[in-house]
Amino acid sequence: MAWVWFHRFGSPPWVYGFAQRWAPWFGAVAGIAMVVALYAGLVLAPPDYQQKDAFRMVYIHAPNATMSLMVYTTLAVSAAVGLIWRIKVAHAAAAACAPIGAWFTVATLGTGMLWGKPMWGAYWVWDPRLTSELVLLFLFLGYMGLRAAIEDQQKADKASAVLAIVGAVNVPIIHYSVVWWAGLHQAPTRKFGADADMAWSMVWPLLLMLTAFGLYFVAVFLIRLRAELLRRERNASWIREVLA
């Protein structure tokens, strides 16, 4: 009984309506949180004792990097759900994730390069973290390319889902690359509690920016999901009602 509400998420018209109602709210809260976090990160947080003001890169680099992994995970899980339970909405959700995640990955690599130059002396090094993040970009692009190349919707769903699931092996590799292998990229700084490695005045803008990016992703994802549902359900009768 308690699971009945969950089944609605398998219904394209219900999901379309849900996405339409909620995207603006997620977007508005994300926008406000981003502005506050940006001000806090650039103005309120004190400069770092080693990196001086260059540490502020963390407020744009880390949220993008976190999202690139979160979005890929969401994509792979959605694709797996679609493949196992044959839920069309799940395949649509996976497809909606791909371009957003690809852009987060581009932003991660770009901001990382701009942080790498002053800290390491080079825009790019074949460090395990950087290399595996670049592979993530290729996975997003490969997933989109594969979907675009297969005309038949069901075949495209299946083939791209398999690619997405196999590619998920890269997610823990990226995450643990800084722990497993010696490279230039630092290991995570964030720790909480008494032995925190970062002052609260530096941490809270980061946590707020991470939250803002999460909410922002949901907003953009819901818009893309609507587009995806409209395209794949083009022969369904509910389309007439939502466009009226």
Binding site: L38, K52, D53, R56, M57, I60, N64, L114, P118, R234
Partner: protein
């Protein structure tokens, strides 16, 4: 104010990074909107053809 923009000498890396990051934030939103708009237009045309 100049001190703020100089960012202890790292401004020339910091500001492009923030411009890139938030530029992509805006771009992602714009691309999603335009994708939805074209999907809606496509669906409308289809409905008109059917009726």
């Amino acid at each position: 104010m100049n001190e703020f923009f100089a960012m202890s000498g790292y401004g020339k890396y910091l500001w492009p990074a923030f411009a890139l990051g938030f530029g992509i934030v805006i771009l992602n939103l714009v691309l999603a909107w335009s994708s939805l708009k074209s999907a809606r237009a496509q669906a409308r045309r289809r409905l008109e053809m059917q009726s």
